[in-house]
Each structure stands twice: as structure tokens, then as C-alpha cells.
Symmetry: C2
Subunit: 300 residues, 2 copies
């Protein structure tokens, strides 16, 4: 039996004081069973992104501890940076990795939101799949006016938080919590230096112009390699699997006499996304992730 696993990728409004980011990372690591996989800070944005995983309740607890520590260490009254933000712990998304549904992550977001509002007195907004209204699905709408603007507008009924009183925390501001699907950064390189081919293929495969539902795509030029690339985000690899994207790009490219040189996955990818691809091409029947030797080992 595999243990359910959730990923959390919170963004904090601190990217210039490594010791502060370290304290937040330590708060996450202090929860047993939670693994911090990545942390990266941007000095210009004055912002840090931490990636951690574990069982749902452990991940929720780690997120709470991190938000709490950030509230102690970051003062939004003094914060400056290029990236839009409304709080010390600015955005906290939960992502289903395995044995968990997006609805489970919505539930997790709600419980954490209630807890943050009750115990830390930070107003909380729910976004993406956890949003309570259509216009709050989009993060940009919630962050309109940023910290400074929201401070004035939070008392307006349409800007009231989903949890907590309609008053900004004096130093930590507000926090956006939500649930979204795992995002795979996936690029396909073409044997052409004609960027217009990559752009035409991108239009064909992306949802916004009639293509695959969970694909965002752009045609770009890799100047150093003199190759055109279809650069994509796959926002739901279970419903729109990688191999479906690959095959569609391949077919569209053929129309222009172009073929695929290679593809690349940037950053992390859930094992199931690749097992699915292997299973498709090898026409595997009745294969289960439980048959993967390492999965059996690590999950006992």
C-alpha cells in the first residue's frame, strides 16, 4: 500500500536574507516525514520558493509552521521587491502527487486557511481549485494592488478574506492558499531554425487556441543551438499525458517536413508521468506502479 503524498510549494517574501529563509526551511524540516526537496531565492524579486513533500497532514503542519515562522521574521511594512505580493507567506499551493485527489488538496487548503486565520490572525484567501468564487481562481485578482493596496481595500466586502477578519496582519499581511495540479515543464526541440514552425505547432497543441486541455505552449528560439522549440507547461499529466503531447507535436511537425530532435523535462516529474509513457509505448497491460522495485521498498 502506497502512502499518499502531497507537494507544497510556498512562496515567501524574502530573498535577500538567507538566514531568514533558512529558519523557514528548518521549520518545514522539523515535521517528521516531510522532505524539503528544493529551495531557491531571487534577490531582485526578494522572494523565495520552497518545495516539500510528505503525507497530507504532515505537509499541512509543515506549511503552518513555515507560515508562522515567516510571520515572525518578515515585516511587510519594510518589504520591497519586483514580484507582486500581499504577505510574508505570499502563496501556498498544495499539489496532489500520489494517492491523493485534487479535492483532498482543496480540503487541506481550507483546513490550513482556517488554522492560519484562527491561530496567527492572518487573513487568508483561497485560490485556484480551492477558490470560493470564479474570480478568485486567478491569483492576480486576489493580489490586485499588492500588500499596500489590499491594506486599504480589505475592508471592502468584495475583498473580504475567505478566513479571518477583514484586517491585514500588521507585519505579515495576508496569505493566499490553494490547490492546483502538478505542473510539468516539458519542451520539444525541432530540427528547424524557423521559429514560425514552433509557433504554429504551439498554437495547435495549447488549450487556449483549441488544442489539448491541459497544455500551455509557446514557440521560442534556442539561439545557441539554432533550433526552434515548443516550450510547454503540462498542467494535468493524468488527463493530458506526456506521450499524447509528444505524439501531437510530432504529427503537426510532419506537416512542415520537420521532425523532433529531442524533448526535455525541466525540474522534477512524478514517476507516474513517465511510467504512463513507458506503458503506452510498450503497450503494457495490467501494469501497476507497485511493480516498480524501488516504490515497494520506499513505501513499506
Amino acid at each position: 500500500m502506497k502512502r499518499p503524498m502531497v507537494e507544497c510549494v510556498p512562496n515567501f517574501s524574502e530573498g535577500r536574507r538567507p538566514e531568514v529563509v533558512q529558519e523557514i526551511a528548518d521549520a518545514i524540516r522539523s515535521v517528521p516525514g516531510v522532505r524539503l526537496l528544493d529551495q531557491s531565492s531571487d534577490v531582485n524579486h526578494n522572494r523565495s520558493v520552497l518545495t516539500f513533500v510528505g503525507e497530507p497532514m504532515a505537509v499541512k503542519d509543515a506549511a503552518f509552521r513555515a507560515i508562522s515562522r515567516a510571520a515572525e521574521l518578515i515585516d511587510m511594512e519594510k518589504h520591497q521587491g519586483e514580484h507582486p505580493r500581499i504577505g510574508a507567506a505570499d502563496v501556498v499551493p498544495f499539489v496532489p502527487v500520489r494517492g491523493v485527489t485534487i479535492d483532498d488538496c482543496v480540503e487541506l487548503a481550507r483546513r490550513l486557511g482556517q488554522e492560519v486565520a484562527d491561530k496567527l490572525h492572518i487573513p487568508v484567501y483561497l485560490y485556484e481549485e480551492a477558490a470560493t468564487s470564479e474570480d478568485r481562481r486567478n491569483l492576480a485578482n486576489i493580489r490586485r494592488g499588492e500588500y499596500e493596496g489590499l491594506k486599504n481595500e480589505i475592508s471592502l466586502p468584495e475583498r473580504h478574506p475567505d478566513f479571518g477578519m477583514p484586517v491585514m496582519h500588521p507585519t505579515a499581511g495576508a496569505t493566499v492558499i490553494g490547490a492546483r495540479n502538478y505542473l510539468i515543464a516539458y519542451n520539444i526541440n525541432l530540427n528547424t531554425s524557423d521559429i514560425s514552425v514552433a509557433k504554429k505547432i504551439a498554437r495547435r497543441v495549447r488549450a487556449s487556441s483549441g488544442g489539448l486541455m491541459y497544455v500551455k505552449a509557446l514557440g521560442i528560439m534556442l539561439e545557441d543551438r539554432n533550433l526552434a522549440q515548443v516550450s510547454m507547461n503540462l498542467t494535468n499529466f493524468e488527463k493530458t499525458p506526456i506521450h499524447v503531447v509528444f505524439n501531437l507535436v510530432k504529427t503537426e511537425a510532419e506537416r512542415y517536413g520537420v521532425s523532433i530532435v529531442s524533448s526535455e523535462i525541466i525540474g522534477l516529474v512524478p514517476m507516474n508521468a513517465l511510467l504512463e509513457a513507458a506503458g503506452y509505448y510498450l503497450r503494457l497491460e495490467s501494469f501497476s506502479g507497485k511493480q516498480v522495485l524501488e516504490a515497494g521498498i520506499w513505501d513499506e
Copy 2:
């Protein structure tokens, strides 16, 4: 950094007394970091196979404890069963899974052999990749005459063990220890009920008749589905990857106007064997197993 991992699949001469098999399983589980993945007993063979994994030294220790426990609980003087055997712990192969070479497993086999001979006074033979001479690579040669025959012949120079005195242990007999590569049981189903097609393809892909180096293959009939199947063992998935086998069977089948209905992996498979297939078909460049989310988690 991934921790190195070795698999051990010892065979014990006891398949009728579950409580004895349980005691041996408990001995394996008593070593921290070792995971028992599978155990299966055959009453007719009067034999059990246990599968466990972990870091090399932990796996060696667990194998020693299991051999020791089996020597206490199994009396070869009373053992009867259909399967050839020479000892209580009959055969003990080490298999590289990850971050370990076959040579590391040979070294492990030698160290365990020395220990078993020194501390338990059981004579030990080395086989397959750990063999000290060409004729001892083959298990059947070492087991010739079985327990009863070897008892008489062990004093002959050509049958002397690799470790220990040339005298059988009074109850535990002798043990064969070695190293081999991971074996994947892989079958491909064809859309024909003509078994001769499966047999012809099997001859083409297997090493013994000029095919792929690390493939054993047979053509068989799945009576219940009325399908012919190429049933294979892949004995080195790194040197002869699954997708190479799949593609060759597909190409050969085309010659007979036959196509592949599906394929199946029986039992466990190392994650890398499937990542390799996904990477091949998706033409992934610079992809590393470290990018698999779960691998990062489990290995920290």
C-alpha cells in the same frame, strides 16, 4: 545522492512448514534498513524463495542471519522435495539494483561465503558472476548429485568448496552463493493464434540463436485468450533495454503480417528499466533519474 541498493533472492529447502519460513523471514527483517519484498513457498518443491533489498552491507548481514537461522531449523537429512538442492540455504544470489555494479555483488558474495564457512561451518560454492571457474558458473554443475550425492563427492578435489572444509555440514549441507544481474520477466502478446509465429520470433530475438545478447525467449500459446506469446527473460536490462526487445519483436512480427496486442511485465521491475523506455520513446535529452519526484523523496 541515491543510496546504493542490492537485491538478494535466497532459496531455502523448506516449503511445508510456514512457521520455519516465518522465522527465516524474521531474521531478514531484523536488520535495520532491509526490506522483505516478497516470500513464496512451494509445497511440492518443499522450497521457499524470499526477496529482500537494502544497502549492500545490510543485505549481506540479513543474508547471513537467514542462512544461520535456516541451518538451525532445517535438517537436510530429512528433507524431501522435487527441486534439486544441496543445502538448507540452497542458493543465495546478490543482484545489483542501483548505484552498485555486478563486481560489487561478486565481492559481497565472496565476503558472505567466507563468513558462512568460518562462522557456521557450512561449505560454500560460488556461482554465476562470482564463480571461480567456468564450469561453476552454472548452478546445475555445482548441484550435481544433490545433497545426497555431494555428501559422498565433496572430498574429491574437483568438488571441493570455494570456502570452508570439504565436509558437508551435518544438517545444513552446503550453500551456493553468487552474483547475477536483475532479471525481468517480459512477455509480448501477438494478434495471432498461430504459435509458430511466436516461436519464429522467439528464435530471432534470443541470444542462443543469434538474437539479442541478454534475452531468453520461447514461443508459447495462451490458450484462454487464443493468442500466441513471446515469453522472455531479460537478463541485463541495462545492456539490452526493454524497448530494444519490443521494437525487434514488432519488426519481426510485421514480416508475418502480425502486430503486437500488448506486453506485460511479470513481478517486479527496477524503475530505471521503465524510465529508459520512456526516455527512448520521448527522445528525452539530459534526463536524470534524480528528476523523479519520488526518488528525491525516498532517498534523502
